[in-house]
């Protein structure tokens, strides 16, 4: 306190100087018309600059709400885009048309539409349940397909539900198929693991085909009509005994996103197969004789 007083005493004249100068300047700018106008215009310029700075700063504070608005707008536009894309796909998209073509090819046969009510992907022997059964005309050993391709074969049939063995069953699924356009046929098998890929075995060594070609059912069994898609060849291996090729196929059916399937109940396939069987039997009898 003492020091403060001493300090004030020692530097009192500076304080006085500042006060007197302030009074003088105030008088100068207050009571002189010209100086007053200069003061006003200068002050206005200065205030204008400060206001501009303040506006700049305030702009940053309003960025948060601008951001929120942009996010909302972005979400809205994204949704609109998705909607438009779906509409466009329905009109033009290749997947859409391919699906349509598949259903058309199946439509020539009798079939029962069903919904998948239970499905599994990650076991070695997956099973699938659909919501149609014996009451709808389904029996054991019928083919199941969807718009994208082959799904599996019915296994156990109850009155209103059916267990299907999908392609993704390493133990029980054996579907006969062929390379489109070439006719060489093999057996579709799956060994567990990746639900997107399966293997076609027993393709003969003399077969000529390329990677990227399609594999489809060949219609040689009583289960599927010919031409149901299986998938696309991605890799070619030699089989273990070296007598045939083994193809890695990218399945066209997305088992992870399967909802609507059809069960092929056409009797004509069975009839043809029965004819074939009887022919074989008679040949066997002939040979035996």
């Amino acid at each position: 306190m003492h020091n403060l007083l001493e300090f004030l005493q020692r530097h009192f004249h500076w304080l006085l100087f500042v006060i007197l100068e302030a009074v003088s300047v105030a008088l100068l700018f207050r009571y002189n018309t010209y100086q007053h106008s200069v003061w006003l215009s200068t002050a206005n310029t200065a205030i204008g600059h400060v206001s501009a700075w303040r506006a700049e700063v305030e702009k940053y504070f309003s960025l948060a709400s601008a951001n929120r608005q942009l996010t909302r707008r972005n979400y809205y536009l994204e949704r609109q885009l998705a909607q438009l894309r779906r509409l466009y796909q329905e009109e033009h998209d290749t997947i859409g048309t391919r699906e349509q073509r598949q259903l058309d090819s199946l439509r020539r046969y009798q079939f029962v539409e069903a919904k998948v009510v239970a499905n599994e992907l990650h076991r070695a022997n997956n099973l699938m349940t659909i919501d149609k059964g014996r009451a709808d005309g389904i029996a054991e050993g019928m083919g199941v397909a969807c718009g994208m391709g082959v799904v599996g074969v019915t296994y156990l049939v109850a009155d209103h539900y059916t267990i299907v063995i999908p392609v993704l069953n390493s133990q029980l699924s054996r579907i006969s198929c062929a390379i489109r356009g070439h006719g060489y046929f093999g057996v579709l098998r799956w060994y567990g693991g990746d639900a997107g890929h399966a293997y076609v075995e027993d393709i003969p060594r003399h077969a000529r085909f390329k990677r990227g070609e399609w594999v489809e059912t060949n219609g040689y069994s009583s289960i599927f009509p010919p031409g149901v898609l299986v998938g696309r060849i991605v890799e070619v291996y030699n089989s273990r005994d070296g007598l045939s090729y083994k193809l890695k196929v990218r399945l066209s059916t997305d088992f992870g996103n399967l909802r609507d399937v059809v069960v092929i109940t056409d009797k004509s396939i069975e009839e043809r197969m029965r004819l074939m069987q009887s022919a074989r039997d008679s040949l066997k009898l002939n040979v035996n004789e």
Partner: protein, 167 residues
């Protein structure tokens, strides 16, 4: 102290009257006006209380302003000059001089007095006309006013100093 105060008051009145009645009306060549009252600050002795010097100068400036209708111009300039004067004069004080040495031709000599008085008066004129015009648009007018007024004022101050020293 009281006698000194009275003397200052008398000087104050004399400078004010001289400026208001006579000197303030002179405009030599339209530019040079004697601002003789700045002599009041120049006369302040060594170790004069700084606050008193400031107050006297401010009051004199304000009084002159009131009559010249330039409020604040002389007051601001005089106050600034009075704040600087004690420190500036200290530079010219000879060794072994008295505590309340008065700045004059007789006490510090003509050369030192010139070095002391000329910059002070020039600074005063500079401040005064800068504040009064408050623009450098007419910088030639400003320069003529500053230099002319400083010259006329200094002439008056030196005349007085010479007269004082010959008495």
């Amino acid at each position: 102290m009281t006698a000194d105060t009275l003397k200052r008051a008398a000087l104050f009145c004399a400078f004010l009257l001289a400026q208001v009645v006579v000197l303030g009306r002179i405009h030599l060549l339209h530019y040079a006006t004697p601002l003789f009252y700045v002599y009041f600050v120049v006369l302040l002795p060594r170790n004069y209380p700084k606050w008193a010097g400031l107050l006297w100068s401010f009051a004199l400036g304000l009084a002159v302003d009131t009559f010249a209708n330039t409020p604040g111009v002389a007051a601001a300039s005089m106050t600034l000059l009075a704040a600087l004067q004690p420190y500036y004069f200290e530079l010219f004080v000879p060794r072994d001089s008295v505590d309340d040495l008065r700045p004059s031709l007789a006490t510090i000599g003509a050369v030192k007095y010139s070095y002391y008085a000329v910059p002070l008066v020039l600074l005063y004129c500079l401040l005064f006309y800068t504040l009064e015009l408050l623009t450098f648009f007419n910088w030639l007018q400003w320069l003529f006013s500053v230099v002319g007024s400083a010259v006329v004022t200094l002439l008056l101050i030196f005349s007085f100093e010479i007269a004082k020293s010959q008495r």
